[in-house]
Symmetry: C2
Subunit: 249 residues, 2 copies
């Protein structure tokens, strides 16, 4: 039987921390889905809406965000290829946050019921989904600590380190230690609980310290990984990656 490989990134994500049998992988690939292209700035999920599908990121970048009473926005997570962005919103009844595409993104929409069925029929897949949720929780806790207890310089450096590592795992960091970060400084501000102005000053300071270099405004190049990680108080433990993961030095 010929089989679409569209959902391969999902299979890879789920098999990352757990062995999945060939049958389990095949069952994942067989999930019914519709591929959609979401334009930059458009929403995949709106806070308080009822979601019926789970979005798998195939390409592009998206963020989850919440809006507080003053109208200010907080980005609570950033997602990239292979991430399932709204298991939360699908399994829980009502969305507690919005999901927005930062760049034009390709996503696969998978009906919520199919995910649940798969998890029940194939416990190992269910466990992999659960694990994925646990890792997301771990990242979220690190963000709480980052925003709550680190100063601006450390906070930004930490975020840049996190992106470097997560993109590296996906093969999206170039040999010259450079990656694309298609976020505006206002979006970085929303992700770190700062203002755009202060993000600007902080990034420029990191740059003048030669901890990072920006070939263009939406790309980050680090010169000395260890130095950046030090400044960012960064330890990848919370990402729960394999120890064999190639380092960034």
């Amino acid at each position: 039987m010929t089989q679409s490989l569209t959902l391969e990134p999902m299979a890879r994500t789920l098999a990352y921390r757990l062995n999945l049998s060939a049958e389990d992988r095949a069952a994942i690939l067989r999930l019914p889905h519709a591929v959609k292209t979401i334009e930059r700035g458009h929403y995949m999920v709106r806070e308080r809406a009822r979601a019926t599908h789970t979005c798998l990121m195939l390409s592009g970048l998206s963020v989850r965000s919440k809006v507080v009473g003053t109208g200010h926005r907080q980005i609570v997570a950033v997602h990239m290829k292979g991430d399932m962005v709204d298991l939360q919103n699908s399994l829980l009844q009502v969305a507690d946050h919005s999901v927005e595409a930062l760049t034009t993104s390709k996503v696969a929409m998978i009906p919520r019921d199919e995910i649940i069925r798969l998890a029940e029929e194939r416990p190992q897949v269910g466990r992999a989904l659960w694990l994925d949720t646990l890792v997301e929780g771990s990242i979220s806790r690190e963000w709480v600590a980052n925003i709550g207890r680190r100063d601006a310089r450390t906070r930004i450096a930490h975020l840049l380190c996190e992106f470097a590592v997560r993109l590296r795992v996906r093969g999206l960091v170039l040999d010259d230690r450079q990656y694309e970060l298609p976020m505006t400084q206002e979006q970085i501000a929303d992700a770190t609980g700062m203002t755009a102005v202060h993000v600007n000053r902080t990034i420029r300071a990191l740059e003048s310290e030669e901890l990072i270099h920006r070939p263009h405004p939406r790309a980050i190049q680090y010169r000395d990984w260890r130095a950046l990680a030090e400044v960012g108080d960064f330890d990848s433990n919370y990402l729960h990656l394999h120890e064999s993961e190639p380092s960034l030095h």
Copy 2:
């Protein structure tokens, strides 16, 4: 067969958002476990340690926390009766945070493998565990928004609202709209990303505005729920409770 009811709070937590069959509930209650008393200030889990058990809170209060490079601490979650405090640390290989008892607490230690086995043998229980993790993630995201985008007054009020609602569900809020909050102001500071001094000033301000009253330093009484929720920019949506949950007005 006579059966221990020690794990009843766990069964109740898991059955809260999902129907569980009598067999499922019985299987939960049958989980092997050891009840332990953890003294105030003692740790149940240490960051970077390998945990082999999951802790179910039977009484008392505990917090998860992380320590950043400067030595400052951030509390990333607070747990009470019925919460399973380290599914994370058990299922993932290495603990990414510590868990500490705020008050002398009774906990049931359940071997990690038994939890996994149960989830695999009983998909509905597995799904309930997953759901519980998803709700925790939702709370964590709200904390990110709370710390990142709300000012001190709003932030503290929001935290007090969250405790009121979560304790209310467990029947731990008295008729006179009062509950025990056995956290020192330093701990509240660690939970909100503030300093103890500023927590003190903020709480005192809320008090002088008559939004809250403190019969003693470790108890909170709210006079007008709606007013407090307004100041705290609080909407319980993110807790994913039943709509039929009795209100706090």
